[in-house]
Amino acid sequence: MMGGSIWLESKKGEGSTFYFEVAFKRGNRSRKHGKENVETDVQSVSHGTACEEEGKNYNVLGIDILRTKTVGRKEADKRKKDEKNQDVSRINGEHIKILLAEDNPVNQEYSKVLLERRGYEVVAVENGREVLKKLEEQRIDLILLDIQMPEMDGFQTATAIREVEKKTGRHIPIVAVTSHAMKDDRQKCIDAGMDDYISKPMEANKLYSIIGKFLKENMVEEKWLTPPASLKRIEHSLEGNRDILEGLLSQFIKVIPEYMMQLEGWIKSRNADETEKMAHKIRGTLSNFDAETASSLAFQIESMARQTKMEAVEEVFAQLEEEVGRVKEYLSDVLRKSS
């Protein structure tokens, strides 16, 4: 590249440093607007070490962009603690594992750096066969699949993965990495069962947003192995009308805290009649989303109130509140995913 060279150093779990070195001819105009402008004439990026001896001829400029940005895992973890809500790298506290299939070592390191910077755990392989092998060995959340690889190319690999998945019922998101995004390629990727594609050179933000898109979808399912509610019935009743469903979900999310507050008020004032009515209303609205646990807790309160046994109601209310919180969170996740 321009007669220069490029190399890198990488340590697992710490991060990677990229180096490159390019020689430029000394420019004619070394002064601009009366300011010293020598630094840009000749540049070498080397973390300030590699070219020091030649400092006479080259002005050495150590740029440390990647190192500062590509923080190691430890630091990334620390950072994540501060940004709890923006934690993109974990599902249920577990690191998201991305399988990176790329035969070119430089490209592989580059992608790895970008991924690890976000706290993703990267499993890197060099060809399609290894992809299949890794998939058998461990849980993978997403695959970044280079199209041009020796032995087994991306298309063949994707097809093989989907074939295996027919038996397991899983669907791992596969993002194709293409060096020249042509229309044909795109269709071929989709035909081979891939979910999306990104073209090289990979742009960090684009990469993150694509990954985020798929993992967000997965997250709802993975986070809620035992969801507190089910939308099956209501989806069927609404004949798949997403707009109405979204409207109902957001209305529920908005209104349920109000209902709960009213219920709490009636319980505190020991008004058995109103407690029964409110608990009943909550049960009715919960039943639309098949929130069974929450519904049965509301029913308990309803029954207790009917028999004017108000002493024990508060305890059940606390349980109901917790469960309703779960239902609300679940439905919020579903809503976020769908919009």
């Binding site: 209501i234 109902l248 209305q251 209104v255 049960r283 009715g284 639309n288």
Partner: protein
């Protein structure tokens, strides 16, 4: 077909509207008083409802009370038997007392929540309100 939905929970109400939308024009009320007003008005204007989906536990006037008022109103006007509005109680209450009381007051059907399209339309079909699902 003219339909009146009396239901205080927004989600259930909207769900009923969506399911019944292809079969007629739906009016909605969220308590018994309001529902009764709409019902009376429709009869007076000689555009009575064909179907009322009636929740039981509601503020102001509950569904059982409203059912009683409706049948009383019809009786005074000489509307009896098959000429009366068809009423389906749509409720989460599944106790014997409520069910038997509703039938005593002459509801046509008693539908226990959750609201499910297939099950609800099946109920409408049994009442000859719709032909095919």
């Amino acid at each position: 077909m003219r339909i009146l939905i009396v239901e205080d929970d927004f989600v259930s109400s909207k769900l009923l509207q969506t399911i019944l939308f292809p079969y007629g024009i739906c009016d909605v009320a969220d308590n018994g008083y309001e529902g009764l007003e709409l019902f009376r008005k429709a009869v007076k204007e000689e555009e009575p409802y064909d179907l009322i989906c009636l929740d039981i536990m509601m503020p102001e006037m509950d569904g059982q009370q409203m059912l009683k008022e409706i049948r009383g109103f019809e009786e005074i006007r000489g509307i009896t038997g098959m000429d009366g509005v068809k009423i389906i109680m749509v409720t989460a209450l599944d106790d014997f007392e409520n069910i038997s009381r509703a039938f005593r007051e002459q509801c046509e059907a008693y539908y226990i929540k959750p609201i499910d399209k297939d099950r609800l339309l099946e109920t409408l079909k049994k009442l000859n309100l719709i032909q095919d699902i």
